[in-house]
């Protein structure tokens, strides 16, 4: 077989993957870009040409940018809490402890439940007069709290549910990281006379930095897509208090049926996210690994 034939032969093996890639990533992306340049809405559906008019409107859309800001706050807030809690839980069941296997599985349960089902349950729990949350706090003379009907409490409720559901993911990644660490550095630290806090700060944490960065980034990306919890728990309310970018795009696109505008919002969201995530990833590496990496 001559060189060209061989090259074609080899390249053809890439085809299945390439086709899937085209079908599920490239086509939707390109199509969305095209739609965002159209005035597709409920009145005049179809791919007419509207130029960058949608994008101009996006830039002046206060509600969208507020949603973006709110989303950033919620994502960073929940992910940080998840990281701290997940790390603590992982450290707890890392070493030889009683019922270690049982706890490891127990901690993973929230992650395994369906987000919508779980959100419905939490909505019940948070119900102002009938829910067990206020009942329970009432035992200590606290509350009742307007969990889902006051702006600040609703944000807290959404964040709480997010944290409850996704801490296990953090826990899982960090536990896997901890279990893969070599033994010697810990022995060396013991010989050097380091106590548990010094050992954590100088051995465990630095060695886990790469895993930490990975886990934080994955969770940040996931948290930026927060949707089910908001949809079920508060529907973005009260008012727009818990409305996130994804939920706002959903409202504009699938409830108001402004397909073209929603597409423009999506593309803007995508670009902002790519830029932000890149910056955050670089920052994390610099902070956790140090300048030289």
């Amino acid at each position: 077989m001559d060189q060209t034939g061989l090259r074609f032969y080899k390249s053809s093996f890439l085809l299945p993957g390439l086709l899937v890639l085209l079908a599920i990533i490239l086509f939707p992306l390109v199509f969305t870009i095209r739609v965002s340049l159209s005035g597709w809405d409920a009145i005049s559906p179809g791919l007419n040409w509207a130029g960058v008019r949608n994008y101009v409107i996006v830039f002046g859309d206060r509600r969208f940018w507020e949603a973006m800001l709110r989303l950033s706050g919620m994502a960073i807030g929940t992910v940080l809490v998840q990281y701290v809690l997940g790390f603590a839980l992982a450290l707890l069941v890392w070493r030889e402890v009683l019922f270690r296997r049982f706890f490891r599985v127990l901690f993973l349960i929230p992650m395994m439940t369906t987000p919508v089902v779980m959100s419905v349950i939490w909505r019940t729990i948070f119900h102002e007069s009938l829910g067990p949350a206020n009942d329970f706090l009432g035992l200590f003379g606290l509350g009742p709290y307007p969990w889902l009907t006051s702006a600040n409490w609703a944000v807290a409720a959404v964040m709480l549910v997010e944290i409850w559901q996704w801490t296990p993911f953090m826990f899982l990644l960090l536990l896997a990281g901890l279990l893969s660490l070599p033994r010697e550095p810990f022995l060396a630290a013991a010989i050097d006379g380091a106590g548990p806090i010094r050992t954590f700060l100088n051995v465990t944490f630095p060695m886990l930095a790469p895993v930490s960065i990975g886990a934080l980034i994955i969770r940040l990306i996931e948290a930026s897509k927060i949707m089910e919890t908001v949809y079920v728990l508060t529907s973005g309310g009260p008012g727009t208090a818990t409305e996130t970018a994804g939920y706002y795009i959903y409202i504009r696109g699938l409830r108001d049926f402004e397909i073209g505008y929603a597409a423009a919002l999506s593309i803007t969201y995508l670009v902002v996210m790519i830029v932000l995530m890149t910056v955050i990833a670089k920052l994390l590496v610099r902070v956790l690994v140090g300048r030289s990496a």
Partner: protein, 353 residues
């Protein structure tokens, strides 16, 4: 500085067979010992028992007259260097070396001169300000060692194959620096290795281990010249000792019909024992003019720089000979001599004399 006494110490992991058989071992103060043996022979187990990373299932560990059998590592005043260099990645070399002192609550004014002294000893002075992560593997290993040396309470220095992951061309230099440092500080050093060259050049005394037991203990020279059994003879030296099956003829021993040994004690040996004569490849000589020698046929020569390892056949047996390569031995017939003062007699695999 202290003597280390393992009193009837043995260890088995779970219900498995003993990884370390019960033995009494004494490491004297200020001397350097090497534990030598193949992988899985129990050397690291013994080291971990001394350092306290492992509590032995039997016996007592006595360091400097104090029973430390159940004492945690941190309280034992022991420094250990591991196979893989351990450094604190996020710290500079200086901070790494200062770390054990900080853990012991020294104040800054005392730490600085001590760290400078140790850095000087290890030749790391120029590296003090650098991030430890950026060092080469051999420098990292020196930092690991330095963290042990910097403490003034260390009674013993344990090293677990510290040169294994170091590039060959850096090994020599690193070995010299470790040796220099340990000579100056005069700690009791226990050095684990599976590399005989390391053990022989580094230690005052070598303990050859096999299957959880110390097989022979002695100076490098003793191990080389009079290995106590076939295992040690084969393990030490490159290539190992030649073991030749001999037959008894009165007071004489015959190998392939040629007399190789003669002693009145031979005549008193119980009949039926398996008799072997051991001789180092280095000690086999070629017959000079006027000496009959034993006729041999050379069947292959390996060049090892300035020495050749010669594979010779005599009758039904093979013999390895080490000779200067300037002799330019070629394949073909040759006459060899086995000097009597270098031959050792083994009865049933154990050294007799």
């Amino acid at each position: 500085m202290a003597t280390i006494h393992l009193e009837q110490v043995g260890h088995s992991y779970g219900s498995a067979v003993y990884a370390l058989e019960k033995t009494d071992i004494l490491f004297e103060d200020g001397k350097t010992y090497a534990l030598l043996g193949p992988s899985g022979c129990g050397k690291t187990t013994m080291l971990n028992v001394i350092s306290g990373l492992l509590y032995p299932s039997d016996g007592r560990v006595i360091v400097g007259g104090k029973d430390v059998t159940r004492m945690p590592t941190a309280k034992r005043n022991i420094a250990q260097v591991f196979q893989f260099p351990v450094i604190y990645q996020s710290k500079t070399v200086y901070e790494n070396l200062a770390f054990p002192l900080r853990c012991r609550g020294w104040d800054k004014a005392r730490i600085a001169p001590r760290v400078a002294e140790i850095a000087e000893l290890l030749g790391l002075t120029a590296r003090l300000g650098q991030s430890a992560r950026r060092l080469t593997a051999d420098e990292k290993q020196l930092v690991s060692l330095g963290r042990g040396l910097v403490r003034n309470d260390v009674s013993a220095l344990l090293m677990d194959e510290p040169l294994t992951v170091i590039d060959p061309h850096m090994k020599f230099d690193l070995r010299r620096r470790i040796k220099q440092a340990s000579d100056k500080t005069r700690h009791t050093v226990v050095y684990v290795t599976h590399d005989q060259n390391e053990a022989m050049t580094f230690a005052d005394e070598v303990l050859v281990m096999s299957a959880g037991r110390v097989v022979q203990r002695g100076t490098p020279q003793q191990l080389f010249e009079s290995p106590c059994n076939r295992y040690v003879g084969n393990f030490i030296g490159s290539p190992g000792m030649n073991f030749l099956s001999v037959e008894r003829d009165g007071d004489r021993l015959l190998w392939q019909g040629f007399p190789v040994f003669s002693d009145e004690r031979v005549g008193r040996l119980a009949p039926g024992a398996e008799l072997m004569v051991g001789i180092r490849p280095e000690h086999v000589a070629f017959a000079k003019d006027g000496v009959t020698g034993i006729p041999a046929v050379v069947q292959g020569v390996q060049h090892h720089g300035n020495v050749d390892v010669i594979d010779a056949v005599i009758g039904s047996e093979r013999l390895k000979v080490k000779a200067r390569s300037s002799l330019a031995v070629r394949d073909g017939p040759l006459r060899i001599v086995l000097p009597v003062e270098r031959t050792r007699l083994y009865v049933d695999g154990t050294l007799l004399f």
